[in-house]
Amino acid sequence: MGMSQPVREDMESSLAAPVCRAPDGALSIREVSKIYDPEGVHVVALDRCSLEIAAGEFVAVVGPSGCGKSTLLNIMAGFDHLSTGQILLDGQPLATTEVKPRPGSDRVVVFQQGALFPWKTVLENVIYGPVVQKALGKQEAQERARQMMARVGLSGIESCYPGHLSSGMQRRVEIIRALINDPRVLLLDEPFRAMDTVTKSASHEYLLELYDATGKTIFFITHDLEESIFLADKVAVMTTRPGHIKMTIEVDLPRPRDYRLLASPQFMRLKAQAVEAVHEEAVKAFQAGEREMA
């Protein structure tokens, strides 16, 4: 990828939210718990999770599989509801015990497995949101989609079906399909999990460039600590059974970031500290689990 600075500025003008609007997308997750109770057996998926996300902040939630991080994302996306606590989006209740969250184009999710519609071409996929909401006419939406895709180097694949693209390309298209809706928050559920190292690294830079250009709030879920430090401003570490945010790590690495950062002493130091802290928590959780089993 490696886009030059002028392109980045150019992207800014076409991808960013309208200039007059105050930056939005601040999320406030307060004491959120989720208890599944299918047959009278309580399963605590989330246990009093709290996290403050400023507008335009890139937050990564890192934790082992099954720790409940996807549950948290699903609640924010409106696919699930919480048991106790509340989530505010720009000060307005998004999910509380009274307010059931609803899915909306202000909080679009990019999934791990990918969710492009296989029977639609890339262009048809990208314009799906604006067209279905009747926010734009088909012609306008196509025009805008072509513009956005051109700015991020995705020209030429508009009429391809997703099945004919690599997973890296698919995910890029999917991120553009989300951004064309001008969401307040971009929810990313391990979007690069199944990728090989090379594709993953290129996808990271792609995402960082889009983030720098759009300034969207990003909520990024992963199980990879290094990835989360490389991408995010703040890393929330979750532990399993029950899912709880044990600590947050502030990442004060400068932006724009690129792959060279991965080898820098600053990054190494931060990663070492994070590994140490996460390991301590993991051991505690593991021992707690063993006690529970015994």
Binding site: P103, S105, R107, V108, F111, Q113, A115, F117, V132, Y161
Partner: protein
């Protein structure tokens, strides 16, 4: 660098034929069919004593030649094809919506599935007596039995297709603002097309099985009847002509269904 290659012209008909003929896939198929007839010829000529009751391919070919000249032979094709078409088409028209409905609405599935599962194991031919009593004409009762053959298969395939739609597709559509109706028509239906195609492919084979058997029991015309009459007349080569015709009819129908399903799923095309 040399200059850019000229734009690719569509290959000429002669070239296309040459490519087809050079394809080993074709020759392997031909080899198997030819080998089959050769072994049959040798064994019926006396190499295998128990095979002598079966006429040789040469005798069958002679009988075939005679059949080809008979209007009744072609009528039989038309009769059976018509019954297959109506039974098959009705099964799709009723079965696809039913499968979609069962997959879409849990309460509808809970309502209909037990009855469906109770009726499904009843073989199409077990419907013959009731069918003859119920339907005013013979034609309708055979078409009905053919319909039964394809109906359950298509419903099960569509139901399976709807249930296995990745939930992320529906989630995404809803996030983008799709209404339930839009999700149904624009997401669930296209996502189910591959399963519909599989159901049709299996279903067309079953309808040919069923129509032949039904004709032997209840029909007065059709390829099944033709075969059965040849047997009653003690004309064994005729029986085998009937069998081969049925095989060809099934082959052609499957190819047609395959063509339709490719047209329905342009995104599945390999480039």
């Amino acid at each position: 660098m040399t200059t850019a290659a000229p734009p690719m012209a569509a290959p000429s008909l002669a070239l296309r034929w040459r490519r087809t003929l050079a394809n080993p896939r074709l020759w392997r198929g031909v080899l198997a069919v030819a080998g089959f007839f050769l072994v049959w010829q040798i064994s019926s000529m006396g190499a295998l004593p128990f095979m002598t009751v079966i006429p040789t391919p040469v005798e069958v070919a002679k009988a075939f030649w005679v059949f080809l000249a008979m209007p009744k032979y072609w009528q039989s094709w038309a009769e059976s094809a018509q019954r297959v078409f109506w039974g098959f088409a009705t099964a799709q028209v009723l079965g696809i919506p039913l499968g979609l409905g069962m997959g879409w609405s849990r309460s509808f599935k809970e309502l209909s599935y037990p009855l469906f599962e109770l009726l499904r194991p009843i073989p199409p031919l077990a419907w013959v007596p009731v069918s003859i009593l119920f339907w005013p004409t013979n034609e309708l009762s055979i078409a009905f039995i053919t319909f039964i053959g394809a109906f359950f298969t298509i419903v099960l395939n569509v139901l399976g297709g709807v249930s296995s739609i990745p939930k992320e597709l529906v989630y995404s559509a809803v996030s983008f603002g799709a209404s339930p109706a839009q999700v149904f028509w624009r997401i669930v239906l296209p996502a189910t097309i591959p399963s519909i195609a599989t159901g049709m492919m299996v279903g067309i084979g079953i309808t040919w099985n069923v129509v032949i058997a039904a004709e032997m029991i209840a029909g007065n015309a059709g390829l099944g009847r033709l075969t059965w009459e040849a047997y009653l007349a003690g004309h064994t080569p005729g029986v085998i002509v009937g069998m081969i015709s049925i095989g060809l009819a099934g082959y052609v129908s499957s190819a047609l269904v395959k063509l339709i399903s490719i047209k329905l799923m342009p995104w599945r095309k390999i480039i």
